[in-house]
């Protein structure tokens, strides 16, 4: 059998590596993210946690509820609570407009409407693109952030829905 030249071996190795690279790229899992604005900044929830995107329905106030929960909505006959994410994150409140949306989220059996300024996009992002939250975030906000990513050249803060719901629970005690 003819012995392979060194160059043949190199070419074979390059082909093998290239093949591995392409399959790894194919295998990299992508997840959906629902991107929205709060004020000027971009935020996101994992798509799997957003069950429905509603227009800014009339919010019926519930006396005694904290300011982070402005009230309840009638979602096709179901009464659902609405959380004001801006108030919750301590951001200055923008006025609810026609572009405002309520994202119906569900996590751990808790369904809540999240009031956001505008819906930007629903995108597929590779899991590897989600980086840990910036160290410069204050501790309280950092606890509510699952990570950060970049979409269309802009930084997007991915929120941790479980932590938001847990933190709301602590407000209650």
């Amino acid at each position: 059998m003819e012995e392979k030249s060194r160059s043949d071996l190199i070419v074979e190795e390059l082909k093998r590596r290239k093949g591995q690279g392409s399959s790894a790229a194919l295998e990299e899992e992508k997840s959906k993210f629902v991107i929205f604005t709060l004020g000027e900044a971009l935020y996101a929830f994992p798509g799997v946690e957003v069950k429905e995107i509603l227009p800014a329905l009339e919010i019926f106030p519930v006396p005694g509820a904290p300011k982070t929960v402005p009230g309840v909505i009638n979602n096709r006959g179901d009464i659902e609570a609405v959380i004001d994410l801006q108030a919750f994150l301590g951001l200055p409140r923008s006025k609810t407009s026609v572009g405002s949306r309520i994202l119906m989220t569900e996590k751990g059996g808790v369904r809540s409407g999240m009031l956001v300024d505008t819906l930007v996009d629903v995108v597929d992002l590779p899991q590897s693109s989600i980086k840990p939250p910036l160290a410069t975030l204050d501790d309280a906000t950092r606890e509510l952030v699952a990570g950060e990513t970049v979409c269309q050249g802009r930084s997007v803060v991915v929120l941790d829905l479980s932590r938001i719901i847990e933190t709301l629970g602590t407000h209650a005690r």
Partner: protein, 145 residues
């Protein structure tokens, strides 16, 4: 999903009569069975009936400040008390299947525990008031007795 009234007995009736009204612009309801009497607030004032402002009790701000227009005599946990409200809407009989619990995370909060659930009526949410809990907090009495 069915709301659990705090006083719910083992046998839940198929329908529940409710008195619907407004207080400080918010649509509210109570079990009709808890309502003993309804009079004009002005009449109650003339008769010197001590009356608690329901809106104030549950933390609703009156904007603009306006005295209650109607007074309800409600009976809860053996006690009877007059409450001032804005206006009466109607008495309705609602199938219990249409009663909904207060959604999470609101159900966790202490303050809205005065509400035990809600119904959707003409596309609007009506919060149901627990008469027993209504009498728990201290309130500013209006009137002389």
């Amino acid at each position: 999903m069915r709301a659990e009234h705090p006083q719910a007995e083992d046998t839940v009736p198929a329908e529940l009569p409710l008195l619907l009204f407004h207080a400080a612009g918010v649509a509210l309801g109570v079990e009709a069975a808890a309502v003993e009497s309804i009079v004009d607030a002005e009449q109650a004032r003339r008769d010197g009936i001590a009356c608690r402002d329901l809106a104030e009790l549950i933390g609703l701000a009156r904007t603009p400040a306006r005295a209650p227009q109607k007074s309800l005599l409600l009976r809860g946990r053996g006690e009877r008390c007059w409450f001032g409200i804005d206006s009466l809407d109607e008495i309705v009989t609602i199938p219990t299947a249409e009663l909904q619990p207060l959604p999470e995370p609101l159900a966790q909060f202490k303050a809205p525990r005065v509400f035990w659930g809600g119904i959707v009526r003409e596309n609007r949410v009506v919060l149901l008031v627990d008469v027993d809990r209504l009498q728990e907090p201290a309130a500013t009495a209006i009137g002389t007795r």
